[in-house]
Symmetry: C2
Subunit: 332 residues, 2 copies
């Protein structure tokens, strides 16, 4: 068990729980043999489902938790009152040092609150940001923060930039990643109060490769590796991505189906389109880490399927192996 | 001249000036005979270009202006110092009541600053928002504010909602438009400080059809008609739209060109794709109005071609005919 990465998995969280979660766990364990998973949730349900499966039994432990935090529950209250929920029990495994990481596809707010309240922040970290990988024309960028800390202050954004750089460099393997701040124009004097105050601080920061402002238009083109912004803005960016892409596809699809010529063309391009869009699928990178905690918390999409869950768990092993948290502790 | 809409057009602003601007003006005058345009800019250049054209000479007047405000110039300084620029001279025509509206594809910041400093706000209006039309799956939505007032306060957003409703109802002809505020979740308690303070004010507001929060993901699907947000957020939304759409298209195109099958399919779908994307082209609605001024200011894209310029000018006639400013004055 010494070099194992131990992951506490919320078996009850997400639209496709527990099936997709359990399948993802098994798939991850089969792919990498240095991972151990705690499946946390209603024991009976987990046992019934996993019973029919073939899996490495010595690397899964089922931990019973009788409650479930639902998607729409107010987060703080849920974490405080549902002490025997799969999420709280799993987070406690990380707190107690029995697990290195926590993965959940459940209530996002509860994951963010629970991570901070139960696992706690690395000393010196003011606000732990949620940092999803977003696909770009050139590969992938890291968006920090995308939902954890609305109304953040300049000092917080500087920490986001530093932690984001460390994470990106290690997890995506690109040295000296380009860091940019989201702005509404390229010039230094542009922006709202927060950006204007943060810009000079980032410029002074020696630990990062700060390239200046990035306009939202340039984000999908991949002009920066680490994209720093306040959480409200980050959330808007992430969701515009999903919204524009899905609207675009449905409008194109509808257009193609409206004529015979379009239908035939559509059939011909389908395989190419599929593989092209696959490259544009961020789930290959796993879920979004909540950076700066005494342990790793990974939030996967509520709609996550087996593959994304698997990648999120493998991501935890990478995080541990590359000692990302140790680097954050050292450099912040 | 009595029922004419008189538009002061900045003939020197934008990437394609003066050609696209002059062509757009001529095209608008040919389409509607109750429009009169002042072409403001370097007389010699305008005369040389327009000389070879056929146009209604009694409805165009060339007004000489010897200076040009460049795209990258700091706006406030440019408006203050370049008194004989096409932009300042044209804005003064509106101020003096000789023109009803001002159209420019030039320096956005200068248009916003010049509109406020020279034409001035309607009494009671705190901050005039820039309100572009964005295409959606269901038609079009109005995004207020998308760049004029960063760090706006709750009272400003309420005015944006009211003015946006009046504009949308008249210009797009849909009664009782649905108004939503951009948020990072559907529940009332979600959001940053600004949204939390604005939400109850919008809820209380009897003049608008407030439907609550809208997540960025839902904007392209057209769930709301008037989308209210602070300018930084609005700018990010607008630019993500452009960025994701263009990246998506270029990735798909590259994918199609990588195989023979894709190439043939691509040829077949081209006409359908083209007409589909045309529906998704907001330039059919003209430019973005700066609402709440004593006269209309319309900002068109810097890259505007003839068609968008034409539609922006026709938009000014609609604005005058429907007495949108009188309604704003009355209801704010």
């Amino acid at each position: 068990m010494h070099n194992m990465t131990k992951v506490a998995v919320d078996a009850m969280g997400g639209d496709n729980a527990p099936e997709a979660i359990i399948d993802g766990v098994i798939s991850a364990l089969k792919e990498k043999d240095d991972i151990f998973c705690y499946l946390v949730g209603k024991e009976e349900i987990i046992k019934t489902y996993i019973g029919s499966k073939e899996y490495p039994q010595d690397r899964i432990e089922i931990i019973n938790a009788t409650e479930v935090i639902e998607t729409a529950e107010p987060p703080v209250n849920a974490i405080r009152t549902k002490k025997d929920s799969s999420m709280v029990v799993a987070l406690n495994l990380v707190k107690e040092g029995r697990a290195d990481a926590f993965v959940s596809a459940g209530n996002s707010g509860a994951i963010l609150v629970g991570g901070q309240l139960i696992i706690g922040r690395i000393k010196g970290i003011k606000r732990p940001p949620l940092a999803p990988i977003i696909p770009t024309e050139k590969g992938a960028s890291l968006l920090v923060d995308c939902g954890a800390n609305v109304d953040a202050r300049p000092q917080h954004l500087v920490q986001f930039a530093k932690m984001g750089s460390i994470y990106y460099e290690n997890a995506l393997g690109r040295k000296n990643p380009k860091v940019a701040i989201v702005n509404i124009g390229a010039e230094e004097e542009k922006g709202n109060q927060l950006v204007k105050e943060t810009f000079p601080l980032l410029k002074e920061c020696k630990d990062i490769n700060f390239i200046g402002s990035i306009e939202a238009r340039e984000i999908p083109h991949g002009y920066a590796d680490v994209i720093v912004c306040e959480a409200f803005t980050g959330n808007v960016i992430l969701k515009m991505y999903e919204g524009v892409a899905s609207t675009f596809l449905s409008v194109i699809k509808e257009g193609l189906l409206s004529s015979l010529r379009g239908k035939i063309g559509g059939l011909l391009i389908k395989p190419v389109l599929k593989s092209t869009l696959k490259e544009f699928d961020a789930t290959q990178y796993g879920g979004a880490p909540l950076l700066g905690l005494n342990g790793l918390v990974v939030k996967t999409h509520g709609s996550a399927q087996k593959k994304e869950v698997k990648n999120s768990i493998i991501q935890c092993a990478t995080f541990k192996e590359l000692k990302i948290n140790e680097q954050i502790q050292e450099k912040i």
